[in-house]
Subunit: 254 residues, 2 copies
DNA sequence: CCGGTCTACTGGTCTGACCAGTAGACTGTG
DNA sequence: CACAGTCTACTGGTCAGACCAGTAGACCGG
């Protein structure tokens, strides 16, 4: 009996549905590069012959693949469903869902963003090319110009600046994850800041912080850039994080 | 004309499919808490009456919701599709897809992992509970014991150790992203290390590095833990990263 | 060269059918 | 009374066939 409990445990068995095996095959073909973005799958009626299943099975598989961003169907297109370029849309959607269902706290999101942006600036400070530095300067100028155009414009310019930094790291994952968590956080907070009475003062402060970070990046001082970036995020978002969760953010500051 | 170019741009219009509106409604009900995890939706045949659409439409909607982890259908269950507890499964899946599909170089993956694990250890050093520290000690013991059981066992114990650290940060995103990128990197490298002539020496070194990191965590020294963790990853993986890309990893070390 | 029309497809949706699986009520038995 | 088996009324998974609206590309007339 001890034998059974320790070694011979069985896992619950679940039937493999037909549409799942269709998904598997198409997914594999896309991931292996046998199907490249832009290319087209055969039409549903053709697929149902190849897979030897009914059309509804094919359609259910395509719906799932579509919801995962791998494929897109356009009614009437004689070329069939199109393989989509890799995108972080699905990632962003599921993260937003988790955040909305409060399975992800704002504290976690901000903490993760501090971590990412901090390291991104650290890398950017050391790896940036002169052209990339110029782009960052330009992005900061746009932010400065947006000061008088309202919060929405400013926030957009803010995001653009961070994206420029992320790009300068040369790391795709940093860019993608950064963009996703940035969008989610901004989406959660935006309203509150926009309606703050002193939103202009907040923008002013934020602008100064970004300028300081950029200075560090210009000097190639990675550690300073990272620290300033994290501090800047903390100052910007801390008040929206419940007090008892704020402690978790501090270890990233000093 | 300038007017048209700057202001009056129209966005492409896309028809809203019936199944999409079904998804919207159910999704909203789940996110608003009107449908709680564990509860059941009406049967497909009942839903098709309520939404006034055909069953195939209902099914396509349910397939998407199921693929997003919101709902699960079991054939034959008279209670209908069940609302699932919130899970990060979908996030993890889309993340893995991106990591696998987007032609990421090993350098990028290792860099991202250095970044994540570094910060994870930094946070863990400051936020860990005594129980979590004990878990890490235990995980290290398992690694030590696995030294003689071959590389596969050791690698598994290695991963388990990192997972313990990630858990101690208390941050879901760190855990998920860490797990994903860890799996991808390990999957890419495993073979090469396993067949290395001096694989035992590598394991020995790795074990020592982990012990050092754990010392720093035990001392609550976040910066040291982070630095050691990053250095350890670098030493472990650098030789598999093409030389000309290795430079991108250095800014994270000092 | 270009706006229309035509055509042969496409995907989106509905209907109706069959099967295998499941829960819960029912049954007969000890 | 407890309980293994059976029954029943559903469920979801799958298929076949139909219809409509939408699209690309060929074709046509100016």
């Amino acid at each position: 009996m001890a034998n059974l409990d320790q070694q011979l445990r069985f896992a619950p068995v679940s039937p493999v549905r037909a549409y799942e095996r269709v998904i598997e095959q198409i997914e594999a073909a896309v991931l292996d590069g046998r199907l490249r973005p832009g290319e087209h799958l055969p039409s549903e009626r053709e697929l149902m012959v190849q897979f030897d299943v009914g059309r509804s099975t094919i359609r259910e598989a395509l719906r799932v693949l579509q919801s995962n961003g791998l494929v897109r169907s356009r009614a009437g297109d004689p070329r069939g469903p199109q393989v989509q370029p890799m995108s972080s849309g699905a990632l962003e959607k599921s993260m937003t869902m988790l955040a909305r269902a409060s399975a992800l706290s704002l504290a976690e999101l901000v903490q993760f963003r501090m971590l990412l942006e901090g390291s991104a600036n650290q890398l950017a400070a050391r790896l940036r090319t002169p052209e990339q530095l110029a782009e960052m300067e330009a992005a900061l100028d746009v932010m400065r110009a947006a000061l008088d155009k309202g919060f929405a414009e400013f926030s957009q310019a803010d995001v653009a600046f961070h994206e420029t930094v992320a790009k300068a790291t040369g790391n795709t994952l940093i860019q993608i994850c950064g963009a996703v968590v940035r969008d989610v956080v901004v989406g959660l907070i935006e309203d509150k800041i926009a309606h703050a009475s002193d939103s202009r003062a907040l923008m002013q402060t934020s602008l100064q912080h970004h300028a300081n970070v950029l200075d560090a990046v210009r000097d190639g001082d990675g550690d300073r850039a990272a620290t300033l970036a994290r501090q800047s995020l903390y100052d910007y978002y801390a008040e929206y994080v419940p007090e008892d969760e704020r402690a978790a953010l501090l270890p990233l500051l000093y």
